[in-house]
Symmetry: C2
Subunit: 256 residues, 2 copies
C-alpha cells in the first residue's frame, strides 16, 4: 500500500456534496494550493460526475484519484487528526479555530506523522452534529454579517491558508524585470547630473532653499527604488530636456 497523501498534506473530505460544480470547484481550489487527496462521502449524484469534471479546469488528476466512502467514519478511519468546518454555532464543546490557525495545526500534526484531513458538509445543511463529533477541532471561517460562502469557496479558503502556512513568498518584492536595483554609485551620478543641470537652470536659487530642495529630490528618487535601466532613462530625460538650452539661460518661472 502506498503512503497515503494525507501524511504529507491534509485530505479534503466532502460529506454528501450535492452539486458536481462544487466538487469540481473544490478540486480546482485544491490544485491551486497544493492539495491532492479528495474523498467524497455519499455524493448525491454518484461518481464520476461530468459537471465536476468540467468545473475542475485542469485538476483532472485530483478527480481521477477521488475515493468514495459510505460514511464519514470510513473516510477518517486511518487518520490521526481531523478538523471539521462549520459556519453555524453548534454549541458543541470543541475548540474552534480560524482557517489560519487550523492550517498551522495541520502543519504541526503532519510534521509529527499524523495523517490529517479537513471535513466539509454538504451544501444544504453542512455537517451533522454526529459528523462534527468525529473531528478533533472545528474550523470556522470568520465573515462579515452576511455569510453565504458556498462549498467550493469554503474549501478554497482552507486550502489557501494551508498553502500560505508553508509558503515562503515574501510579503513584498520588487520586480525589476529580472534586473537588480541600481547600485548606489549610479544613483549618486544621477543626482549630480540632475543637480548640475538644475543649478544651471537657476532652480536651486536662492541658495538658502538649495539644501532642502536637493534633499527632497534625492529622497523622492531613493523612494522610487530605481533599476539600472530606469536610471539610464532618467539621465536621458535630463539630457533631452536640457538639449539646445543656452548655458546661461534663466528659467521662465521659478516654481518649486
Amino acid at each position: 500500500m502506498p503512503q497515503p497523501d494525507s501524511i504529507i498534506a491534509p485530505a479534503i473530505i466532502l460529506s454528501e456534496p450535492q452539486l458536481g460544480e462544487n466538487i469540481g470547484a473544490a478540486a480546482r481550489a485544491m490544485a491551486n494550493f497544493g492539495l491532492s487527496d479528495l474523498r467524497l462521502v455519499r455524493p448525491r449524484d454518484g461518481w464520476p460526475n461530468h459537471k465536476a469534471e468540467s468545473m475542475a479546469a485542469g485538476a483532472a488528476d485530483i478527480l481521477a484519484g477521488v475515493q468514495i466512502f459510505a460514511t464519514v467514519e470510513d473516510a477518517v478511519a486511518e487518520l490521526h487528526y481531523v478538523l471539521a468546518t462549520t459556519a453555524r454555532d453548534r454549541s458543541m464543546p470543541k475548540t474552534i479555530v480560524t482557517p489560519g490557525e487550523g492550517a498551522a495545526r495541520l502543519k504541526r500534526a503532519l510534521s509529527e506523522g499524523k495523517a490529517s484531513a479537513v471535513l466539509f458538509g454538504g451544501e444544504r445543511s453542512g455537517l451533522t452534529n454526529h459528523e462534527i463529533a468525529l473531528a478533533d477541532e472545528i474550523i470556522s471561517i470568520p465573515t462579515a454579517g452576511f455569510s453565504s460562502l458556498n462549498l467550493g469557496q469554503a474549501v478554497m479558503l482552507v486550502a489557501y491558508e494551508w498553502f500560505k502556512a508553508g509558503d515562503a513568498t515574501p510579503s513584498e518584492t520588487i520586480d525589476h524585470g529580472g534586473g537588480l536595483p541600481v547600485p548606489r554609485e549610479e544613483l549618486f551620478r544621477l543626482f549630480e547630473h540632475l543637480e548640475g543641470e538644475l543649478e544651471k537652470g537657476g532652480f536651486l536659487h536662492p541658495p538658502g532653499t538649495r539644501p532642502g530642495t536637493i534633499r527632497n529630490l534625492r529622497s523622492l528618487l531613493h523612494r522610487a527604488r530605481l533599476s539600472d535601466q530606469e536610471v539610464k532613462t532618467l539621465r536621458g530625460v535630463i539630457v533631452a530636456l536640457t538639449k539646445g538650452k543656452k548655458r546661461d539661460a534663466m528659467p521662465e518661472s521659478e516654481e518649486k
Copy 2:
C-alpha cells in the same frame, strides 16, 4: 455628494469582466467580507446583468450600487491608493505584495484618509500593462504550480484578507455551549470522586504506581478543559460504573 465607500473600505474595480456569474460571485465575496463599493469598466454583456444577479445570492445591494465606467482611468480618478492584481510576471518595476500584505497596506492607506481600491482584470487576459501602470502596487496571489483562480475566486481571496486584517476573531476559542469552563473546585471534586472509586477498585495499587497514575489521569482531564455539564456527566458515569459493586471487590484485571 455623500462620502464615498472607498474611504472606509477599498472599492473593487473589475476591468472588462466577461461573465455575469463572476461579477455576481465577486459581489457575494465582497458581502461576505465587508466590502460594498463595486465598479465595472466596460462589462462585456452590459449592465444590469441577470446572471450576475442570480449568482450574487443575497448581495443584491452591492449590485444595485454598482458604478459603470468607460475606462480604468475614470474608475480610479478620485482615488489615492490603488492595488492591481495580476497572476503573471509582468516585468514591470512595481512593488509586488501578497494579498495579506496588500490588505495591511489598504488598512493603513484608508486610516490616513486615502480612498483606495483593488483592480482586477477580465477573465481572459487580466489587466493590460497600461492598466497596471495606473496602480501604485501589485497584489499577486501565491499558488502552487497549477494556477487557475477565476475572477470571483481572486476577488474572494483579496476580500477575505481585507476582512481578516480588521477582524478580531481569536485564533482559538472553545465553545462550551454558552457556559463557562468548570471552576477548578468542581474539577478537584471530580478527581477525588474518581480516585476514591479507583482506590476501592484496586486500580491504584501497588502504592508505588499511585502518584504517576493519578497525575496522568488528572492531566488528561485538565487537558479536556471540561465544562460544568461535562463534569456532572462524568460524575454520573462514575456512579453508574460503580453502582451495585461490592465495596471490597477487586477488579477482574489490573490493566493500566
